[in-house]
Symmetry: C2
Subunit: 268 residues, 2 copies
């Protein structure tokens, strides 16, 4: 039996899922595929709790006081701003409490339970897209070594990519994730809107978008960079600014990137 198989076989701590949104749903789906027991789902919205619990055939509640007590892993899959208030109102003597946020420090959980930690899947998770967590980094942290070994065992059941990361490193990683996910996606949005206004199909960009990401990963973004700003091709840059003169928001972004790329590659 491999080390991985042993961990899976031996992992017998049932989970209690706090929350019923995208992260809760995707994690529950990943865990039940691996036969991890979900004991209960809590959500302030009873129909959401019921719906998610129906996948797992587990109990559900919308009453904080009815959350089962015992040797469980309590997995908080709730909004960042709800984590601290929840931890303050939820005190348990046994088990482990974990949150799943990129930007919230682990210590906000310390008055809730003796054993606490973080289980942060570094991925953009929506309920309307099927994703596999197998290659998704799970960034973990724990209050003590015992808890860390449990959290690591739990994470290794659904991902092959586990990293022990401190709260401050996780915060920085989350900032980088905002840059490559939220900001990249906003660039896509702006480019798509621009093309639609010009009666050109944004679909023409799909192959380029996929290749851009694949190339940056293979070569490094620094080596993959091309384009007018990299070449300091002032004729093309001027023509692009002219095209954007009725679009001041996109022009601001164009100017800032052009300056920043020129600075990076021409040391100016």
């Amino acid at each position: 039996m491999s080390k991985e198989e042993k961990i899976k076989k031996s992992f017998s701590v049932p989970l209690i899922i706090i929350g019923s949104g995208n992260v809760a749903t995707q994690l529950v789906k990943s865990f039940i595929k691996k036969n991890i027991q979900i004991a209960q789902v809590y959500s302030p919205n009873i129909s959401h709790a019921k719906e998610l619990a129906s996948i797992t055939k587990s109990q559900f509640t919308n009453n904080l006081k009815e959350i089962l007590k015992g040797n469980f892993i309590y997995l908080l899959c709730i909004k960042d701003e709800a984590i601290t208030p929840f931890a303050k109102s939820f005190k348990i003597k046994e088990g482990i409490i974990l949150h799943t946020s990129g930007s919230i420090a682990m210590n906000v959980l310390k008055h809730s339970c003796k054993h606490y930690g973080v289980f942060y899947p570094l991925q953009s998770i929506s309920s309307n897209r099927k994703i596999s967590l197998k290659h998704v980094p799970i960034c973990i942290e724990a209050s003590d070594n015992f808890t860390l070994s449990i959290v690591e065992a739990l994470a290794s059941i659904i991902s092959k990519n586990i990293h022990v990361i401190t709260s401050i490193q996780r915060k920085k990683l989350h900032l980088a994730a905002v840059i490559v996910n939220n900001f990249t996606n906003h660039l896509y949005h702006l480019a798509f809107e621009y093309l639609k206004k010009e009666k050109i199909s944004p679909e023409l960009l799909y192959a380029l978008m996929i290749e851009t990401t694949a190339k940056a990963i293979e070569l490094s973004p620094h080596k993959a960079q091309t384009g007018p700003a990299k070449r300091k091709d002032n004729v093309t840059i001027k023509a692009h600014k002219e095209l954007l003169k009725k679009n001041p928001d996109l022009q601001n972004i164009y100017n800032l990137f052009t300056q920043s790329i020129i600075k990076t590659y021409h040391n100016e």
Copy 2:
């Protein structure tokens, strides 16, 4: 025999490749796979011309006057700024001359040859990455219908994604390509450099980068948007700005995107 097979069978116009860079190399590789004849490679650098010609077993020259004359397609795979000067110094009576640029108008070729046009593969092309052009949009344009039919036949041999696009539309498309390729790649670069400085491996972002692009294509960037700016989560935004206070360039980009995303989703 399918229409596509007929085109391939009947396509018998040999190519002369002007240039020996990334675009020339990738196009030559794609054409020879489909048994398109390359008659000659021209490059001002004779060893580059020789190297590319060796793949195609064709003639090569670094002398403009030695470029073969006749019923050829002359495919300019040279830098944007070199196209107009080349076209001015290169006059032919037969054949078709095409350039491969996103940002140069077709008309700069009009004094070079009676039949001219554009063959623009909308992709980021490097010599150090293997790519298939099968799904890459080829944006074509031609001086007349006869030329257009030839250019279309040529494009359809290597891609299933052909679009007839005017010079002004192509210029706009190229601007959008700069946004989704050059600017996205620069965001990756900035995020990677930030993480390296903080002693965190940028590899942790790979799964997220791939998912971001796949999700934007599947759902539309507008529907795929998430994050603190979308939620107007001022606590996280403030914490991120604090993390970037020693990094004014990245902070400027952070601020501009945050404002632009808030404006998009909260109409402010």
